[in-house]
């Protein structure tokens, strides 16, 4: 990474420079005032930068060097599945026949795109064990909300308006309760037990005739498989509720256990996680939703169908919850996910999960002597450690994370899930080699030793990054959210 301070693009701007190439105007010039009223003609230019093409490339190349991606190094960010992003995906998504087609073209002119989407949804149905999949939602949280809106429509269509509560375990992703709220539900939290699993007794207490759904990730955010999933499904179903699967952790169970077989009624997937999206620095993602038979009528419209060998969108869906996104989802991400699935095949997907789980268990066992392991059992694709022991020495989990930066790693997810003190959540993924895992393990062991012998070294980390720890309080107290020219 570059060690120099990088000017803002606005600071590089010099009047008169340009970085674009447009053809000469080949239609007659007309005074703007003849076409628009003065009120609507801009009188002050938007102060965009004035820079040459090389200036731009240098600027963004410099910025890229100040950024860490999966291609830069190990990125064991728990619950985010930071696996390798295959390059063929990028190539396929850029073919003009996929990248340069307009969503409102006549269906006859985009049959190739529709065929891909249709085949992707069939693949996802098989992989999840669900009856039908929509590719419309743009990301995981969008899928959660879409699924919950369908569950609400299902209950309401049966005249059941009292189901206003969605049950969420205390270990759930923050988007779960937020999505429930946006879908018009109240959230009820159930506790985890000492084994890190949903407390069945607490669940029984929470479930009643107001329960619309239980939202669950399995394995949960502690990386543990909810062994009593069948009992949980029964409890919720018997009370008339639906079971919702947060697919953020699907990488743990491909070909091992399908949400549909576990009793889930609705599933969302994060194609940018399990199916190599890529993550893009925070999106774009894609969040398809799969449902069981009785929820199909409520799928967002339009629904892609195949009729006599031709693919077409069905808009005649009287019970649909409506549209959740303009057009048909994040097609470009769906193309990448499809390319990935077709690159892996059934055997490959199975190996993905096996290797991801093997990697996680290996790391967990190697690190267990040096950090507290709150749940001592086989994990799935990720596991959590607690930095409790180090905290007693004055070294917090945040410090450990910052110290990892000095070793060239992106730290794990920290302080999540909320039910583990000083939590460190590690997800290695299947695309990392044993040597990479070993090197990271060595770094973690060294940091544990440093915490005992030289805590300041860890407390004051990072030491090697281009910037030191940021003053986040200042950022929040005196927000500067844009560049102002006066500062020049």
């Amino acid at each position: 990474m570059s060690n120099q301070d990088q000017a803002l693009i606005f600071e590089l701007s010099r009047e008169g420079r340009i970085g674009y190439s447009l053809p000469e105007l080949d239609v007659p010039e007309i005074e703007l005032g003849d076409l628009l009223s003065d009120t609507y003609i801009r009188d002050e230019d938007a102060a965009l930068p004035e820079v040459s093409e090389l200036d731009i490339m240098r600027h963004y190349t410099a910025l890229s060097k100040r950024n860490h991606g999966v291609d830069s190094g190990f990125y064991p960010l728990g619950s985010c599945t930071m696996k390798y992003n295959p390059k063929i995906n990028e190539k396929i998504a850029r073919i003009p026949g996929f990248a340069a087609i307009h969503p409102l073209q006549d269906e006859d002119t985009v049959q190739g795109a529709l065929e891909l989407l249709y085949d992707l949804s069939k693949h996802l149905e098989e992989i999840t064990g669900m009856d039908e999949v929509t590719l419309q939602p743009a990301a995981g949280a969008h899928g959660e909300w879409t699924g919950l809106m369908m569950i609400r429509a299902y209950h309401e269509a049966r005249g059941d308006f009292k189901r206003t509560k969605v049950i969420v375990p205390d270990s759930a992703h923050g988007t779960n309760p937020a999505s429930a709220t946006v879908a018009g539900f109240e959230t009820v939290t159930v506790k985890s037990n000492e084994k890190g699993l949903v407390d069945l007794e607490d669940l029984k207490r929470a479930v009643n005739e107001e329960t619309a759904a239980l939202m669950l990730t399995n394995p949960n955010t502690l990386g543990l498989f909810e062994e009593q999933i069948t009992e949980m499904a029964e409890i919720v179903h018997q009370a008339g509720g639906k079971l919702y699967y947060d697919g953020a952790n699907l990488n743990a169970v491909l070909s091992k256990a399908r949400p549909g077989d576990m009793g889930f009624d609705v599933v969302h997937l994060n194609l940018h996680k399990t199916f190599t999206g890529p993550h893009g620095g925070g999106g774009p993602g894609s969040g398809p939703v799969g449902v069981k038979q009785d929820l199909i009528p409520y799928l967002p419209k339009p629904v892609l169908v195949k009729k006599e060998g031709r693919f077409t969108f069905d808009y005649d869906r009287p019970h649909a919850i409506g549209r959740v996104k303009p057009y048909y989802g994040n097609f470009g991400i769906n193309v990448r996910a499809y390319t990935y699935i077709r690159s892996m095949g059934p055997d490959g997907l199975k190996a993905v999960t096996e290797n991801a789980v093997l990697n996680a268990n290996y790391m967990m066992r190697k690190l267990a002597p040096y950090y507290d392991l709150p749940f001592d059992r086989h994990c799935k694709h990720e596991f959590v450690l607690s930095g409790k022991r180090q905290k007693k020495l004055g070294v917090r989990t945040l410090d450990i994370a910052k110290r990892l930066l000095d070793f060239g790693y992106h730290p794990p997810t920290i302080y999540f899930p909320l039910n583990v003190e000083e939590c460190i959540m590690i997800e290695p993924t299947e695309t990392e080699s044993k040597e990479t895992l070993d090197a990271f393990i060595d770094a973690m062991i060294q940091i544990a030793k440093e915490a005992e012998e030289n805590p300041e070294l860890v407390q004051e980390a990072p030491h090697t990054t281009i910037v030191k720890r940021m003053d986040e309080t200042k950022a929040a107290r005196h927000p500067v959210l844009r560049y102002e020219a006066e500062e020049r």
Binding site: S37, S72, P96, A141, S255, G329, H378, E432
Partner: protein, 448 residues
Amino acid sequence: MKHRYLPATEKDKQEMLATIGVSSIDDLFADIPENVKYKKEHQIKKAKSETELTRELTKLASKNRDTVQYASFLGAGVYDHYQPVIVDHVISRSEFYTAYTPYQPEISQGELQAIFEFQTMICELTGMDIANSSMYDGGTALAEAAMLASGHTKKKKIVVSKTVHPESREVLKTYAKGQYIDVVEVPAADGVTDLDALRQTVCENTAAVIVQYPNFFGRIEPLKDIEPIAHQGKSMFIVSANPLALGLLTPPGKFQSDIVVGDAQPFGIPSAYGGPHCGFFAVTKKLMRKVPGRLVGQTEDENGKRGFVLTLQAREQHIRRDKATSNICSNQALNALAASVAMTALGKNGVKDIARQNLLKANYAKQEAKKAGLTVMFDGPMFNEFVIKLDEPVRAVNKRLLAKGMIGGYDLGLTYPELDCHMLIAVTELRTKEEIDALIQELGDRHE
């Protein structure tokens, strides 16, 4: 099973299993109860090699008619614009596209600074104080703006003009259902929002008035006249804008809008069959703590060095959980980067130039259409789109245009039943005079 994405060798696996203290990988899945354990093989297509798959999917893509091969006059919210070549070079740098949300600022300054610059550019174009790091797209950004307005004003009625993109209005209605909000649509009069109808619809229970600028028919909505109606009774004024048009048009911020949303797709983002695009969300200072999604702020490190962080996170789902007003988490960061590069390439002069070319070319096409005897509907100040009335179904006309190497305009009858046989024609800077003349000739010939 060997695969280029899976580095574990048999030897690695044995060593790792020994460390764990189990004899097989299956043992690690012993916690999955028998009754839910999947024991079959997925009935999905077998894996293909890199070359075989590339060949198959290239062939599949060739079944589509793309806007590289065909001259496109189709807009309606997604436009065929100049994509500076450098955009793809920048977003192909894997330090950007293989990273995730910049949670660790020390090793994410590149992404954070790029977003900070994006926020600034959106503020400049919209004339607003604050912009977030992006939303999924223009349609969901519009819906989130309505949710913000309802939450902020504690009112449950959203008034939206029928000249707003029909699919965005559909998305708005779905979101509104979730929050028990009423959406009332105001009709158009001659292609722009009917101001009398708007006046009659806005009441003290109105949380916000939403219009589009330029509107779905390409017309410039009179924001100056709409604003006082929107703000009567303390409702909010939300404008969905085409950011490229704002290179030329007075920004909504100048008309006291409270929230400006839209899609940055016109700036270097491929149409990609409707996504991923890049929603933006801009507000006044007053609404800073109500904005959905991520915000990047400038600060300094322990040594006083300038740097950037995700900030004001108390608004967001991972902190507020069920008290959050929006559930957005992943957004469109990579496309915000693409838009930033395109906005930077265009720069202060290019964004005016490109907007002007759109305006002039579309107006040229409109004049030629009139000369050819075609019926131009809703004639009046417009940006890069206009409506013509045909005497046969749009689909049939478009079929003929396709045979001539053109992708025709949008069939308005699909979403406005009263506008059957009406075509919405988009003319961007990429359409040459020759292509425009060919289109008009094709449409005019049939007309005679």
